[in-house]
Symmetry: C2
Subunit: 609 residues, 2 copies
């Protein structure tokens, strides 16, 4: 028996018990003839006291950091109590010990604030995983998974495993592929999601399916993307959008309760995609704070139902505004006293290539009711005041205005809003705000190919009221310059995204379940009948045998955990993550394979110079 | 809202309620002007009654098998109750209905005893999954998973995900590999098991890990093998073999209770590998029945500690026995009256190529105490009686004797025992008997390469008492013909298999956690230092930084489910299985990939003529 108790377990009530502990040496401290050792395991830290009778053995068997030690002893009350740790009232008076394994000096310290850089910690991930903050992250991840499974089980969902070796049907992201030795010349693909399989399970009558499942996308990586990632994947039959929204906002509320002990009793806000774009400049707004965008000017075809207030800025000989497609203002609350240095810094910030704006206009709404602006020579104080009213700015606020092409300007305004919100402390880390974004466009226009692409994926249903538009029109775009006039441009999707603090944590849709409509969708994406049959014949076939109405959602498990854990990086919540080149630097993968493997798989390299 | 209730929910108490049901049309029966429909969903079947007022609508919208139907109506008490189903006391008096989707005629009937053959059901797996027996299998699978997770959670295990894109280190089975686009010329491998990662987690201090996880092996397939399969994968630190056996026999007992409502209160039997081979002829004996093998003759080097009783048969001029390496007898209880036809059939059975014996000797132990044998001319009745005593045969039994080369004969005796046990009804389908098989040899001898191979895997520790033998001897086999005299031949592994009704459902070991011992193991397997470093440098490195003693086990989840479900085939318990060529015939995978995919991956085909 290696231990009678863990290192996080013993308390003052256990005094005088004989115990055996095993764990890692966190610290060794000598005071005269006495040696103190903090022994660490998954559950905590317990102080060991080695009296001078053990000095001879200690000298013969010197202990160092991260040695694995087994100690027998008796629980004593500490004279010098440590109230910061649960075991801090006791210590173990060691009677004998045994070094289970030695350790060479670790390349970085195993502490909350380690001295190890990112690369070193990735290479020695097995040591980084010993640090308490990383352990906390993995424990949170396990708790989120456990809470999810419990909730879904209580609601009659079944965990059903779908295959990992499937068929390559690239549509959107690239597939990872796997050569088949038994079928030379043919390849499996790793699933980007279990989408078609979960839909088949609905056709099979399984009604409520879920899986916490690995998915794979061969995309160029960014900090928050991994080639393999985990989804909470769900699907339900005989449901409408409302059923799904209710079921899954309650899942997230349950996770809040189980994992963070937060009672999220508020109704989850809902917002159309158009409102999100109009008011926040993006489709995953952080609604923990206001600072809404004010659209002083915008392309009418993009927001046909919105009121044009461009007369507030046009015709004042300020070319930047006059010539811009889009002009957007934001009021930063209480910032009217910003110094020149501060506004200059913000101007530099928006001029960085990542944001890409040419400049930043400001209007100070002074406390005394006067206005001061960088465009004073074009706009009278009265005109500035009218703009300030439109922006809903109050005395003491500072208005920022961005101007330029629609997409870039809106994105920049959205980024600026988040940046200011961060600076002003409005994005509180301990506040969580959920939001449903609804009514996305079903299609986006792909200019290079002059065809439609599915904004969500090709299995998403249009709104019921748009089905006849979709069925009864030819998806082909006759005149590329006027694609916005094509009836498909206005079709809305029966899709929904769940947003948490400005991050999309999940998305889904009511699916197409009629063969004719699915074929129309494939045709809209430029697939002829042969390609449809080759790639998705099994699904079209399944829709002929009594497919029920169904829909579902998938949550990004890694990201959900990272947001709940208060981190920007999903990597911190993955036990063995890959770096930005898709490498696992610890095991050094990917790597070369043997000649014999190439021969058996009947493939060879074809490296371009 | 598509439904107010499911098709398995309504009872006599619900009479007069207005309800809406949705489901699949199981049957349509017309009685005069009234139409009865059985409506089916995941939860059950409810009878719908369409009165003549709906006949016009029914004629305009004819219903067929597997149509998806939504029906509004009122719950009525049935006059003609069906006590075989929970909803059998009521029916729905339909007031209106709505066809949600049509179905063409399914290629086979959606019934417990379907008329569809294997191939057809695989192709239309989404329809086969509608059948109740298949649904029961997947529900059992989900229940086994749920029970496993609950038990392990209660025992402080953490579900930690390990990566799927890892490094190819083929040792034993072939890896599936995945070309890396971002690292041209390099490949990931899909894990054959998370073995090294779970060991790293122990080095990291995670102490109790589990995962229900997909694993991949590119092997030639048999009926009960799939290229992707699921493991219950577990590992613990600071444990000895006894801790693991206790923890995991209780897991299986818990599954018995949760899933089958069986109280398995007996102690789980334990048996050494040598005893299993000696007494049952294989290392996964079915101990639901006795019929132990009697080793009349055997190679002394294989069973050095067993008593030689070959004098019972040798020297009677019966060449078959005299010249055989191995002679094994079994007594079939109560079979002494078997006819010539029956013994001939059994002789043919052992002569089949799968068994490969040259013949079958029998001795009838007649009720009257006399003996009658196929070898009467060589053995006196007295001698037959002595053999019968050795075999522990009673009056009324029939003894079968096999003779030949050791391995083949032992395997044949084992197969014959199982076959007779099956025929005699001794392998009761509702009886479950667990068994631990212990003390396996650590190594097997690979003749072609004149080296050792790990019987379990290269991370399995020898018994503590054998560690010094392993460390202090050169693993190289100087004289191939005398490999049995090498000290490594007698090293026993700290490994254990769990056997259920003659099937290996799980296996594991206490692992090596010392760098020096691990290097010795790799060397024994013929790996030089460079190869060790290339393949397992990360693990050897990890062992330098304080690796704790640890061990674990993995259960074959698919097989465990199939045995609990009373089936021979794991395929019946997998939602979307592959056929014996590794194909998913439903989605038609694997398949060809695009030119663009080859270009991006920088590989090409190299098909042999």
């Amino acid at each position: 028996m290696f231990r009678s108790h863990t290192c996080g377990e013993l308390r003052i009530q256990d005094v005088n018990k004989s115990v055996t502990l095993s764990g890692w040496v966190q610290t060794v401290r000598k005071f005269g003839s006495i040696t103190f050792i903090d022994l660490r395991d998954r559950y905590g830290i317990t102080q060991l006291l080695f009296s001078e009778t053990l000095n001879e053995k200690l000298e013969a068997n010197p202990l160092g950091r991260e040695f694995v030690l087994q100690a027998n002893g008796v629980v004593h009350e500490r004279s010098n109590k440590n109230h910061n740790i649960p075991t801090g009232e006791i210590e173990i008076f060691v009677t004998d010990f045994n070094i289970l394994n030695k350790s060479i000096t670790p390349p970085f310290t195993i502490q909350d604030d380690t001295d190890g850089g990112d690369d070193l910690r990735m290479k020695y991930r097995f040591l980084d995983l010993r640090r308490q903050p990383v352990k906390n992250n993995l424990e949170l991840r396990y708790a989120v998974g456990r809470s999810t499974r419990n909730y879904l089980h209580e609601h009659n969902f079944m965990d059903i495993e779908t295959p990992f070796l499937i068929k390559s049907t690239p549509e959107g992201a690239r597939d990872f592929v796997v050569p088949s030795r038994m079928n030379p010349g043919q390849f499996y693909a790793l699933p980007q999601s279990p989408q078609t399989f979960k839909q088949l399970l609905m056709v099979s009558g399984y009604d409520r399916y879920y899986q916490i499942v690995k998915c794979f996308r061969d995309e160029d990586l960014r900090a928050d993307r991994q080639p393999e990632f985990t989804q909470i994947d769900c699907e339900m039959a005989f449901v409408e959008q409302e059923d799904i929204l209710n079921m899954f906002e309650n899942l997230i509320k349950r996770i809040f309760k189980d994992v963070k002990n937060i009672d999220y009793n508020d109704a989850v806000e809902r917002m159309t995609w158009e409102h999100a774009m109009w008011t926040y400049g993006n489709d995953k707004p952080d609604i923990r704070f206001d600072m809404n965008l004010c659209n002083l000017k915008f392309p009418a075809h993009t927001f046909p139902s919105q009121k044009d207030i461009s007369s507030l800025i046009n015709g004042n000989d300020f070319k930047v505004f006059d010539e811009a497609e889009t002009v957007i203002a934001i009021a930063a609350p209480g910032c009217s006293e910003y110094t020149r240095k501060q506004t200059d810094e913000l101007t530099e910030w928006v001029k960085r290539p990542q944001i890409g704006m040419k400049g930043l206009v400001y209007i100070k709404c002074n406390i005394d009711g006067t206005f001061k602006s960088s465009i004073d020579k074009f706009y009278s104080e009265e005109k500035l005041k009218n703009i300030a009213n439109a922006v809903n700015a109050k005395a003491g606020d500072l208005i920022f205005i961005l101007a330029g092409a629609e997409e870039r300007t809106r994105k920049a305004a959205s980024e600026l809003r988040l940046y200011l919100g961060q600076q002003l402390g409005l994005r509180k880390p301990d506040e969580f705000k959920l939001l449903w974004v609804l009514d996305f466009p079903l299609f986006e226009y792909a200019e290079e190919e002059n065809r439609w692409v599915a904004r969500h994926h090709p299995f998403t249903s249009p709104k019921p009221s748009d089905i006849h538009t979709m069925i009864n029109n030819n998806p082909v775009i006759e005149n590329p310059t006027e694609y916005l006039k094509h009836p498909y441009a206005n079709i809305k999707a029966n899709a929904y995204d769940m947003v948490l603090n400005g991050n999309e944590i999940g998305g889904g849709s009511i699916r197409i379940y009629q063969k004719e409509l699915q074929q129309k969708m494939f045709a809209a994406l430029g697939m002829d009948e042969e390609e449809q049959h080759h790639k998705f014949g099994f699904l079209l076939g399944a829709f002929e045998y009594g497919a029920p109405p169904h829909g579902g959602i998938a949550f990004g498990f890694d990201r959900l955990c990272s947001i709940l854990g208060g981190s920007e990086s999903i990597r911190d919540f993955i036990a063995f993550p890959k770096n930005n080149s898709g490498r696992d630097v610890m095991i050094d993968a990917p790597s070369s394979i043997d000649k014999k493997q190439f021969e058996e798989l009947q493939i060879k390299l074809d490296i371009k110079a």
